[in-house]
């Protein structure tokens, strides 16, 4: 079995994002970038499946500008076998990413495709479902538990009401929740070894898909600020304020 795992480079989850003054976006210069957190879970799960003997190869793929390949290198450092970087410039919407990934899937013919359920930058939560649609494959989204059987997957999904379990045929797309596993850290020797692993670069323009943005970003602004609150000294004061000032109890 072969697993393709898709990863995205995003502003690190600990960074307090700042909006640019001209309203054109958020500040990304000199800001710490990392792998999108649930994509780390996707890598971890792929590597675990390989370690269990159920998969032979894990291929990590990313779509983005030159530096996006850092996320592929990181995947290689924690156990992916080789990498693919599809080079793009500017904003690439989830629909375009899924079209690019479709081409990669057609070339690589993986049995499973893993990725995070949502990217923490645009918060779209679309790419996995779109890729599944384009390939006419089953989709197991928001996975918090995955059992790989011979020709199928049993996936527990986190949904609003609690947990849902579905079974899908293989091939399938799985989007991973943060609770799926505990991603490992790359050791220094493995980071060094990862530098020797193959990382193929492909220009998106060579794939013959239309990736022009369809959504015009008119402006990006700061959300309205909450007016600053007060500290109360005691529980009694808190309850009085809630009762008489805020009038919510």
């Amino acid at each position: 079995m072969k697993i393709l795992v898709a990863v995205k480079r995003v502003i690190d989850y600990n960074v307090q994002v700042r909006v640019k003054e001209d309203g054109s976006g958020v500040v990304t210069e000199n800001v710490k970038m990392s792998t999108n957190p649930p994509d780390d879970n996707a890598i971890e799960e792929s590597v675990k499946i390989k370690e269990s003997g159920k998969a032979k190869e894990v291929v990590a793929v990313t779509v983005g500008e030159e530096k996006a390949q850092e996320t592929v290198r990181k995947a290689l450092a924690v156990g992916a076998d080789r990498g693919i970087h599809v080079k793009t410039e500017g904003i690439v919407e989830p629909l375009a990413v899924s079209k690019i990934l479709q081409k990669i899937v057609e070339k690589e013919k993986p049995d499973l495709v893993f990725m995070g359920k949502q990217a923490i930058d645009d918060d779209c939560n679309q790419t996995g479902q779109m890729l599944a649609a384009l390939l006419k494959w089953p989709q197991a989204t928001f996975a918090s538990k995955i059992e790989v059987k011979e020709k199928s997957l049993e996936v527990t999904r986190e949904v609003d009401e609690g947990l849902e379990t579905i079974e899908t045929n293989i091939p399938a797309i799985v989007t991973c929740d943060l609770r799926l596993n505990e991603p490992r850290y790359a050791s220094l020797p493995n980071i060094m070894k990862a530098k020797k692993k193959s990382l193929e670069q492909i220009n998106a323009s060579d794939l013959g898909v239309d990736i022009k943005p369809r959504i015009e970003q008119i402006k990006v602004e700061e959300p309205p600020k909450r007016k600053s609150g007060i500290k109360v000294k005691s529980v009694e004061e808190l309850v009085q304020k809630l009762k008489n000032e805020a009038k919510v109890i």
Binding site: P94, D123, Q139, T165, I215
Partner: protein, 317 residues
């Protein structure tokens, strides 16, 4: 222009967020039709036909739709999509799972999780966990949009009498099988729609200690929430998680207990009308969004809080 909204339901009742989505959809265009796909779900279509903003209900009934699988729902939606300019649904786990599958087949770049309708093609949506708001305009002919339910009021449920028409099922997708759903049953208000939410974080130290939260929730008729840290630690089940990748809540009163206030948690609750933070670390970021902050040990504060609430003779329910 006309809008097709995909209803979420359990074959018996409409799920409440569908009503919030109806409000948003009718702001896009008045010609709003609702698609109900289900098994023996006539009652659902009937009740949606009574929502005043709804002009028509399209009902597709077949046993293959007993359980909601996007692989099965999508072909049925695509068959209807041709006559509409907008396909919309709520941005909860139902709509998040479903809509991108529809959008990709319509070759449309979806706009997720809108919080405001600016015009029929332009919407406001939060990005970066709500740390920025983007105004975005769709240039696709057909638009696929998901709606953050808590940003719109629920539509009224009586007074309308829309026509209900039946439509045919699509072919079944045989590669995905529903196995089971484990729903957590509770008599409490739903987290997404509760007037008051009280949430616990890592500071609760154990699942057992959540009983301190439960006691106050009972008193205030509140829903119980949690930070991701508390869910990860196994103190409470995932359906309680509030945050960027959990649920977004906008109650009148949100009480955060033992929650430090990571960016991803704030994303799920900072639009609440009144926020209370109880935390022993006075520097915790949660205080930056709190209207009322109490720097205290929660194990002393919570029992005292309950005691004070018990002294009040009137509590709004």
């Amino acid at each position: 222009m006309s809008v097709l909204l995909i209803a979420e339901h359990n074959n018996k009742e409409v799920r409440p967020f569908t009503l919030n989505a109806i409000t948003a959809a009718s702001q896009i265009d008045q010609d709003l039709h609702v698609l109900v796909i289900g098994n023996k779900a006539e009652g659902v279509s009937k009740s949606i036909s009574e929502v005043p903003n709804v002009k028509k209900v399209i009902h597709i009934d077949n046993e293959i739709y007993e359980n909601y699988l996007p692989e099965n729902f999508t072909p049925a939606i695509i068959k209807q999509a041709e006559s509409y300019t907008h396909i919309v649904c709520s941005a909860n786990t139902f709509g998040k799972n479903l809509m991108p599958r529809v959008a990709a087949l319509l070759d449309t770049s979806q706009i997720s999780d809108i919080i405001k309708v600016i015009s029929p093609d332009t919407f406001l949506r939060p990005i970066y966990a709500g740390n920025a708001f983007a105004t975005v305009k769709s240039t696709d002919n057909k638009k696929c949009v998901t709606i953050r339910p808590t940003s719109f009021d629920p539509a009224p449920t009586t007074g309308g009498s829309a026509e209900i028409i039946k439509a045919d099922a699509a072919e079944e997708f045989l590669l995905t099988k529903f196995i089971k759903r484990e729903e957590v049953k509770s008599d409490r208000p739903e987290l997404g729609t509760a007037r008051i939410v009280i949430s616990g974080g890592r500071g609760m130290q154990s699942g057992e200690n959540f009983k301190l939260i439960t006691a106050i929730a009972d008193k205030l008729n509140a829903a119980i929430g949690a930070s991701r840290a508390a869910v990860d630690a196994g103190y409470i089940t995932n359906d309680h998680q509030v945050g960027q990748t959990g649920k977004v809540v906008v109650p009148d009163l949100y009480i955060a207990v033992g929650i430090s206030g990571a960016i991803q948690h704030l994303a799920g609750m900072k639009e609440s009308k009144v926020i209370v933070a109880i935390n022993k670390d006075g520097e915790a970021p949660i205080f930056s969004v709190a209207d009322y902050g109490l720097e205290a040990d929660l194990f002393e504060a919570l029992p005292k809080f309950l005691e004070e609430l018990n002294k009040l003779n009137t509590i709004q329910k």
